[in-house]
């Protein structure tokens, strides 16, 4: 099974393509993931043990924690694509009914 960091790196690379952003995503020797796009550098790495996050992001030197990969994606997109307005999922009251 692939490591989470490999899957996260692949997800970030595919995310740039999905968001129509040109840039690159690479692995660093210490296991961190580096996203370079629009002149910015975003570094993503596993959070240190004992902190209440799974991931730490460093966006142009400013550090933030993220609880999960969706939170990582949210922060990366907010940094790279600030004009994008995210939709919140809405759940219908009921499943579809059989007629």
């Amino acid at each position: 099974m692939r490591e989470i960091s490999d899957l996260a790196r692949e997800l970030l690379a595919q995310s740039l393509a999905a968001w129509a952003l040109s840039g690159r995503v690479c692995a660093q020797s210490n296991g961190a993931i580096l996203v370079c796009c629009k002149g910015m550098e975003i570094r993503i790495e596993a959070a240190a043990p004992g902190v209440p996050f799974r991931w730490m992001l460093s966006v142009d030197g400013r550090k933030r924690g993220a609880l999960s990969l969706p939170a990582v994606l949210r922060q990366v997109r907010a940094a790279l694509d600030p004009g994008y307005a995210m939709s919140r999922v809405r759940i219908a009251a009921l499943p579809p009914v059989q007629q």
Binding site: L7, M86, V89
Partner: protein, 325 residues
């Protein structure tokens, strides 16, 4: 619960003719009909033979744009009249949209409006496509593309007047999961209108297809998916795709419920709650999620699902305990 069926299709594609035929069938005798016409002089409602008490015409505006409030009010009013015996106790509602309507906002309204929830629920979308003009309309009108992409069923009309092979190929590329029925001069087996519930389990199509901006593909997973993964997956799709996620339907093998698969349905960022089937409908117990999108790459969706499930597995107590053993 009363099911609401949305009948859509571009201008002149035969919606009213089809509806007129279906309403003549005995099993549709207790159907309330809402017809949305765009323009000052409505005609379609005169062409549909239904009880005048249970037929409502919404005119001079398009349901998808400015009349969503009117739709909810109309539905609530119909229910109120039904409750006090002023109209026959209808058991289903059909909404015929205007030919220019984007069905997505109408579907959203039916799925989420608190005013009608509990009494009415969406049962599905049927889209008519005209064999004579369908191809050119799809090439020219994005609304027509969206009407096809959102359909649970497609009905090909006027097929006696034109060849259908090229059009059928195009429809399969736009919406690989919707079965296509062919109407014969407006006549069709009324069972085409029987959709909803577990009957909406997507058909399996392993190939992907694309048509300019609109793409249809199937995400297949052999391994069961954690329930939390599914929640995160749908949330993240909604956040990052929004209106570009035209439609999503799937049958999912949930790790915590191996014998009872979950059926999921969504339109843009609005999803039905998962429906749990009593059992697998076939031997195939893989998760199969059909996605219809505008410019959302399949590789991103696959990478998202794989990464989320790996992360959830990493923090799952079940997996942690198994590792410890």
């Amino acid at each position: 619960m009363i099911g609401v069926l949305v009948l859509t299709g571009f201008l002149g594609s035969g919606k009213t003719t089809l509806l007129r035929h279906v309403l003549r069938q005995p099993e549709f005798s207790r159907t309330a009909v809402i017809i949305n016409e765009f323009g000052n002089v409505g005609l379609d409602h005169d062409l549909v033979e239904a009880s005048t008490d249970s037929l409502v015409e919404l005119q001079t505006g398009c349901l998808c744009c400015k009349m969503r409030g009117d739709l909810v009010e109309t539905l609530a009013d119909m229910l109120e009249r039904r409750d006090r015996g002023a109209v026959a106790p209808f058991t289903r509602v059909v909404i015929e949209t205007s030919g220019l309507a984007d069905p997505a906002p109408i579907v959203h309204t039916l799925m989420t409006d608190a005013g009608i929830a509990g009494r009415l629920a969406l049962s599905g979308v049927i889209t008519t496509v005209d064999a004579v003009n369908g191809l050119s309309t799809l090439a020219r009108e994005q609304t027509s593309v969206k009407q096809v992409a959102l359909a649970d069923r497609l009905v090909l009309t006027k097929s006696d007047l034109a060849g259908t092979a090229e059009l059928l190929d195009r429809l399969a590329k736009l919406n690989v999961s919707a079965p296509v029925a062919v109407a014969d001069r407006g006549r069709i087996d009324a069972r085409v209108f029987d959709i909803g519930g577990a009957g909406r389990v997507p058909h399996e199509h392993l190939h992907s297809a694309h048509d300019e901006d609109v793409q249809t593909y199937a995400i297949i997973r052999e391994e069961p998916i954690h329930a939390v993964t599914l929640t995160l997956f749908l949330e993240t799709l909604a956040e990052h795709c929004g209106a570009d996620l035209l439609r999503l339907k799937g049958i999912v093998n949930i790790m915590e419920s191996p014998q009872r698969p979950a059926v999921i349905h969504g339109v843009q960022h609005v999803f039905h709650p998962p429906e749990w089937l009593a059992r697998w409908p076939s031997q195939d117990q893989r998760s199969r999620i059909v996605v219809i999108t505008r410019r959302v790459p399949q590789r991103w969706v696959e990478a998202l699902l794989a990464a989320l499930d790996a992360e959830v597995a990493d923090v799952s107590p079940t997996v942690a305990c198994a590792k410890a053993r």
